[in-house]
Amino acid sequence: MPVAEETKGLSRVKELYQDRPQRVKELKGEGRKVIGYLCIYPVVEMMTALDLVPYRLFGDMREPITKADACLPPMVCPFLRSSLDLALKDKYPFLDGMVMAHICDVGERMAHIWRTYVDYPYFYFMDVPHTTHKSALDMFKEEIKGFQKSLESFTGKEISAEKLKQAIRVHNDQRALVRELYDLRKTDPPLITGTEVLQVMVALAGIPVGEGNELLRDVINEIKQREEKSPKQAARLLVWGSVIDDVSLIEIIENAGANVVMDDICVGTRSHWSEVELTPDPLDGIAYRYLVGIKCPRTFREAALDPKGKNYMADLENRFGYLKDYVRGWNVNGVILQSVRYCDTHGYEVPAVRDYLNSLGLPSVYLEHDYSQSSLAPLRTRIEAFLEVLG
């Protein structure tokens, strides 16, 4: 096979997973503008509609945090500290701009710190309400409008409703393809491992949506034709919690003798599950998808009061009902709750989500780590013990 031939499918995924920026660097060379963003609230459709390349920033749990220690305290989310650390170490020379959103306390603070110490031609901070009240949706729509305006003045181009709808369609295509890929995990054993899926998700976050869709199609075809299936395991697990952008943890889980068949994290279902509805005014659909559609504990949801007042179980159903579909659809028999240390939005959630899983009769275990490889190793025993509990 000639060396020159470009790699496709999973091998391409592995390339992109190993060296995330390689593609945007090329595109940058071709004169495209690259906009970095953190977390999943910045509206990627807007960037796509302006031919900008959205590039999602992650941390690096293999790289010790040093520079960021000078401007972020040790008692905040190590994932965010790591992300800033990489920026301070000038790992993103190819960025033309940066978009951050009010994702959580530290995310909000860090946006301003980032902006102070690392300068880009373009920077936008997007406020995101915490409630899903009607008034919050209206306000958020206006906020997105503001983001659109700022992007337009940065590029000197206008986003026509048609262009925006186009962008929405391609991104929805990607969401549909991701769900198609996830369907391949429903079989027992799953056709694709959790580790591979995560690599795909990470790869997607670093390339233009169109290329991502091509890549997904290749991967899906490859997987469908797979001869050797991943080993059949007793445990079919769902992994819940804060961001996972490195395969280490999933590898530990799968090496311990389990299949990771579903996830509820923001490099997975949270970032791809819900679509943007094509509303007459596209912004309505976008606002709704990002505020209500994305299921992250940073947003407050509560069941409507019934005549007797408030009902905890109804509340749990309203907050976590989507997990039931995951569990049933993917035939999950155990859940691993994991979070980086100092993540408040996930921390407060843990007892409630366990209450809900118990109501479904699903065993779960909660693991906390400080987003460094060394902090993952000790989790092995807990994971193995959990699998022994599952029997």
Binding site: V76, G347, Y348
Partner: protein, 447 residues
């Protein structure tokens, strides 16, 4: 009358009735709930929701403030432990863990009654929970978590927090104020449906007026603290700070109490009376103090440390012109939006500061209050009050050559605070303050 020995901190006499008044509200709430009147547990929303409770005759109690009470009285530890047992991660907000532990104890062990050991008479079982989407994630996640223990209706009040640059335009301001006003209106109808009472709009207008009056006096008082020597120590400020932001009790009476406070402080300024024996260092405090170890400030006062200003969240809102704004809800929205977040944005933008209300005010106070240094108190259990402090330390030094002392601790959990270590660092910090006083002089700064 308690005859107390001469302390290094010269406390204000007019502070005591205010403290009594604030303590009184705890008892009042307990009695009210015994009498069958609903009591709300509310996060501090800096006026937003509080006025509405008051106008609807619903007593409000503040688990954040109560966290400080439990910490000061030593009762907190058992509630923190209880929260651990309930499965909440230990790195979470000390106030929240204290409250969650308290709720678990009240609902699971005491059948909904106030736990016997609860300090200050305790917080009665709430009829409604008001949380907030501003200033910290705990602000709503914590009350949401309470649903495990009580089927109490809950509302979350939203507060937009734009970036400095993004938030400058009038368009954004008006949009956000309109949003907040709408939020408040929805909250009122929520309350009306939960309690089956109608809002008394006249009373609300009156309440808001009274609050504005108290707020103005409170603001004027804090302006007086710019005097050298500073007449009012942070200890007194902390004792009184919840009054103006929480409209409990008789507001007319409250107004009088704060006017008396103003008069005493003003009198001290005229007679150059200092809040500490001898003001050697003027220090600002950021963010929340170690409620369990307040003796720290007495020891520092003996060394000539005067604490003269505190951070944004507690700093009285700058009064704004509201002529022509008749809707009391809109008035609340404007005061809160300006006071809590954006009033400093103009200055921040000019100074090229992106850390709007959390960063820039420290620079501003350093200049206005002629600070020798800042005491930064990062909380091991609170991201919201800590994430920006390293940055603040850097900006203060870069821009104003004002040094800051960083002492880690916690608002509630005494195990995380090392008094001896703090004092050791403070001693060394005095040399640093002396040094930068010289540096500022060399660079032609005025203090």
């Amino acid at each position: 009358m308690v005859q107390e020995k001469k302390r290094a901190i010269n406390r204000l006499q007019t502070m005591r009735p205010i403290r009594a008044e604030i303590d009184e509200t705890y008892k009042a709430n307990v009695e009210a709930s015994k009498a069958g009147n609903p009591i709300a547990w509310a996060m501090l929303t800096i006026w937003l929701g509080d006025a509405i409770f008051h106008a609807m005759d619903i007593g409000a109690t503040y688990p954040e403030s109560y966290g400080a009470v439990c910490a000061a009285s030593g009762a907190a530890q058992s509630y923190l432990d209880r929260s651990d047992e309930e499965g909440f991660p230990t790195h979470m907000c000390g106030y929240a863990r204290n409250c969650i532990g308290y709720a678990a104890r009240m609902m699971k062990d005491c059948g909904g009654e106030i736990p016997p050991e609860a300090p200050m008479g305790g917080m009665p079982k709430p009829a409604v929970l008001l949380s907030r989407g501003m200033s910290c994630d705990a602000g709503f996640k914590w009350f949401q978590a309470l649903a495990r223990y009580m089927d109490t209706p809950m509302w979350t009040l939203e507060m937009p927090i734009p970036g400095v640059k993004e938030g400058l335009s009038e368009e954004v301001r008006e949009r956000n104020v309109a949003f907040m006003t709408k939020e408040l209106r929805d909250f009122v109808s929520f309350m009306e449906s939960v309690f089956g009472r109608k809002m008394d709009w006249d009373k609300l207008s009156q309440t808001v007026q009274d609050l504005e009056a108290i707020g103005r006096v409170w603001y004027e008082t804090s302006e007086l603290r710019k005097a050298i020597p500073c007449p009012m120590h942070s200890r007194d400020f902390w004792t009184c700070m919840s009054g103006p932001s929480t409209p409990t009790g008789d507001l007319k009476k409250k107004l009088k109490l704060y006017q008396d406070l103003y008069e005493e402080v003003k009198d001290r300024v005229e007679n150059k009376v200092s809040a500490v024996v001898q003001e050697k260092y003027r220090v600002g405090f950021t963010e929340l103090p170690p409620w369990h170890s307040l003796k720290l400030f007495d020891t520092l006062a003996e060394r000539g440390w005067n604490f003269v200003v505190e951070t944004w969240g507690y700093h009285p809102a700058v009064p704004i012109d509201l002529t022509g704004v008749n809707d009391p809800l809109e008035r609340l929205a404007r005061i809160s939006y300006s006071g809590l977040t954006t009033s400093c944005f103009q200055g921040a933008a000019q100074a090229g500061e992106y850390m709007g209300f959390l960063g820039y005010p420290n620079l501003k106070y350093a200049e206005e209050y002629k600070l020798d240094g800042f005491f930064l108190h990062p909380l091991l259990s609170c991201r919201a009050a800590s994430a920006h402090l390293w940055y603040v330390q850097d900006r203060l030094m870069q821009k104003l050559k004002v040094p800051s002392l960083m002492v880690e601790g916690d608002i509630v959990d005494v195990r995380m605070f090392d008094l001896a270590d703090a004092l050791k660092k403070a001693e060394a910090f005095e040399e640093i303050m002396d040094h930068y006083k010289e540096v500022r002089k060399k660079e032609g700064m005025e203090w």
